[in-house]
């Protein structure tokens, strides 16, 4: 045990002096993730909220052919500008981005309207322009409103109740709570936590194995009278320490940052106080030795620092596999799935954020299964250090 602690202390201290490790473990991962999420969230929320208030404008060609329609649009707050485009010019103007949308009134418009035939309108818009898509949807909504208004007037003029055109009335009833609504947006949170946690230990795992061999200090290390598996246990332990640091920092940063994103304004609440933050950390903790053992094992197998980096970049994606799979086939949390590391943590964290009660059996199985796999990998890694092929 003394040798394990000696290796641990040395790896921990040495990496405190390694800027790359510190940057990724203690700064980049924990701060970048939450900031990205918060930034993305407020941008999205602000856009969604701001769009409905922004005045809608439309360029109309041949507006004189439909004065009533223009009056209707103006009455609904649309800024109407008259332009003198033909079809080709309208197309070009929208494509070049000079106009977001152009409404062209057909020369038959008034005549067909008067005789009760469908009256043609051309709406030019660029469907690939996401910023303009909202505007054209709103304009189309107004046009449909105008159309149905005319329709009802016609029916009324013929003495028919306009309600005959509405045989079914569907009412949407949203049962989501503020907490569960935000989970839709915060679905990536559990993944970001797992990812930054692994990042925190990645460079140490590489440095202590592939890096050590590349620098030529592995061979002297193997000449000390200490059973070799203990050397790698110490290295895994040091990797764990950095991952825990990174995990605690990340979750704390999330808790702080999400406080300032103002989800409440949109009828969502984040159930992410100090208590939940602590529970998230505790639920994720069993993944620490699993991730550390996995990264150390993979890095020890590779032949160089560069190769280790390449392989570990893939390992960082491993926890996403069950998450992506679950998302694809629409898995719902149930007891059996709690035996899958990373997936179970994802489900449990999401449930926590939805302010649901976690069944004790689920938590126990998640912790147990994750730790069992971790123990297995630690033993395999120990076996690897007993092989002389390690020296490469």
């Amino acid at each position: 045990m003394y040798a394990v602690l000696t290796v641990f202390a040395k790896e921990f201290r040495e990496n405190l002096r390694e800027r790359r490790t510190l940057l990724s473990a203690l700064i980049l991962g924990p701060l970048l993730g939450p900031l990205l999420l918060a930034g993305g969230l407020s941008l999205r929320l602000d856009r969604g909220a701001g769009e409905a208030d922004r005045p809608l404008s439309v360029a109309v060609a041949h507006g004189e052919r439909a004065p009533n329609l223009l009056g209707f649009l103006r009455a609904h707050g649309v800024t109407v500008t008259t332009v003198d485009y033909d079809a080709a010019a309208a197309r070009a103007a929208v494509r070049a981005g000079r106009e977001h949308q152009v409404l062209e009134i057909d020369e038959d418009f008034a005549r067909r309207l008067g005789t009760g035939l469908p009256a043609p309108l051309q709406l030019y818009a660029d469907a690939s322009d996401l910023a303009a898509a909202g505007e054209s949807a709103r304009l189309r909504g107004l046009l449909e409103q105008y159309s149905s208004l005319l329709g009802r007037l016609r029916l009324a003029a013929r003495g028919i109740d306009p309600l005959v055109l509405a045989p079914i009335a569907v009412q949407d009833i949203d049962v989501s709570t503020p907490a569960s609504r935000s989970v839709l947006i915060l679905g990536t949170l559990s993944y970001l936590i797992l990812f930054t946690m692994l990042m925190g230990g990645m460079y140490l795992a590489i440095d202590a194995t592939a890096g050590e061999r590349e620098r030529g200090s592995l061979e002297p290390l193997l000449t000390v009278p200490v059973p070799r598996q203990r050397l790698i246990y110490g290295k895994i332990l040091a990797t764990c320490a950095y991952m825990i640091l990174s995990l605690v920092l990340t979750v704390t940063a999330f808790a702080v940052v999400l406080r300032f994103t103002g989800l409440e304004r949109f009828g969502m609440s984040v159930n992410f106080g100090p208590r939940v933050a602590l529970e998230v950390i505790l639920l994720t903790l069993p993944l620490v030795p699993l991730g550390a053992a996995l990264m150390t094992l993979v890095a020890a197998y590779t032949r160089s620092y560069r190769e280790a980096q390449t392989y570990l970049a893939v390992v960082l994606l491993v926890p996403t596999v069950p998450l992506a799979f679950a998302g694809l086939v629409g898995l719902r949390p149930r007891l059996g799935l709690m035996a899958v590391p990373s997936l179970s943590q994802h489900f449990l964290i999401t449930s926590l954020l939805r302010a649901e009660v976690l069944p004790a059996g689920w938590v126990a199985l998640s912790v147990g299964a994750t730790l069992a796999l971790a123990a297995l990998l630690v033993v395999v890694a120990g076996g690897l250090y007993r092989r002389e092929a390690l020296l490469g």
């Binding site: 003394y2 040798a3 000696t6 290796v7 040395k10 201290r13 040495e14 990496n15 002096r17 390694e18 620098r215 030529g216 200090s217 592995l218 061979e219 002297p220 290390l221 193997l222 000449t223 000390v224 009278p225 200490v226 059973p227 002389e388 020296l391």
Partner: protein
């Protein structure tokens, strides 16, 4: 004392060491001399238990490197090829780390490190991070690390590689000092002057087998050569034919 008994090692189809038996006695400096690729490093690596021999055994003060590797390692100080040290630790921390792994108590390894820093004239750079060390500073740090537990036996793989004249002379002085204190010193080299200047005992090895073992005089006499270099060339030449 270090003793190799019919050591053999192959990597895949390549036989790096076919049969090497040698004795390096206490109070003597033994040189393992051979051309590049002769199997010197592989032999030494089996002696210091990093490689497991396919055949034969190595005894360190009577402890089998195969069956009791921990006991064998405890009796060995090793300076491997390249002398890799930890760049983010100072020279002193590098030495202390190995002292701890050798099982020395805190106070003892501190005192021993002070002693070694003085012995190897490392005062100037002992507390600097090893990142910017010259080859000479690196070798001295690695040597101090190998000596931290005051091992009876010392194995050095090409220790003078990349050292300047002054550093080589300092290293020679140190090895002679250790010999006079009764240690067993075994080192490998392909530099003739190195071996003839230092060794009490020479083992000539080529293509994984021992060609000769004895004092430089004995080897010269047996091959009928005027100098050790001449003797070496004759021995190596004989294996080519």
């Amino acid at each position: 004392m270090i003793e190799a008994r019919q050591l053999a090692k192959h990597f895949g189809p390549v036989a790096a060491v076919r049969e090497v038996s040698l004795r390096a006695a206490d109070g003597r400096i033994t040189g393992l001399l051979g051309p590049n690729g002769a199997g010197k490093s592989t032999t030494l690596r089996m002696l210091y238990t990093v490689l497991r021999p396919d055949g034969g055994d190595a005894l360190i003060d009577g402890r089998s490197a195969v069956r009791e590797p921990l006991a064998a390692r405890a009796r060995l100080g090793v300076l491997p090829h390249g002398a890799g040290i930890y760049p983010n630790l100072t020279a002193r921390e590098n030495i202390l780390y190995f002292g701890a792994l050798q099982g020395l108590p805190r106070a003892a390894r501190g005192a021993r490190t002070v002693e070694l820093v003085k012995l190897l004239e490392m005062e100037e750079f002992a507390d600097r991070p090893a990142r910017g060390f010259s080859q000479g500073e690196r070798v001295r740090t690695a040597l101090a690390r190998a000596l931290v537990h005051s091992p009876r036996n010392l194995v050095l793989d090409e220790p003078t590689n990349g050292l300047d004249v002054m550093a080589v002379r300092a290293l020679r002085r140190l090895l002679l000092q250790l010999r006079d204190a009764g240690h067993c010193v075994l080192f490998s080299s392909h530099v003739m002057q190195e071996v003839s200047a230092l060794c009490d005992e020479v083992v000539v090895i080529a293509q994984g087998v021992v060609l000769e073992q004895g004092t430089p005089e004995q080897i010269r006499a047996r091959t009928g050569a005027a100098s050790l270099e001449e003797a070496f060339v004759r021995l190596i030449g004989a294996t080519d034919r």
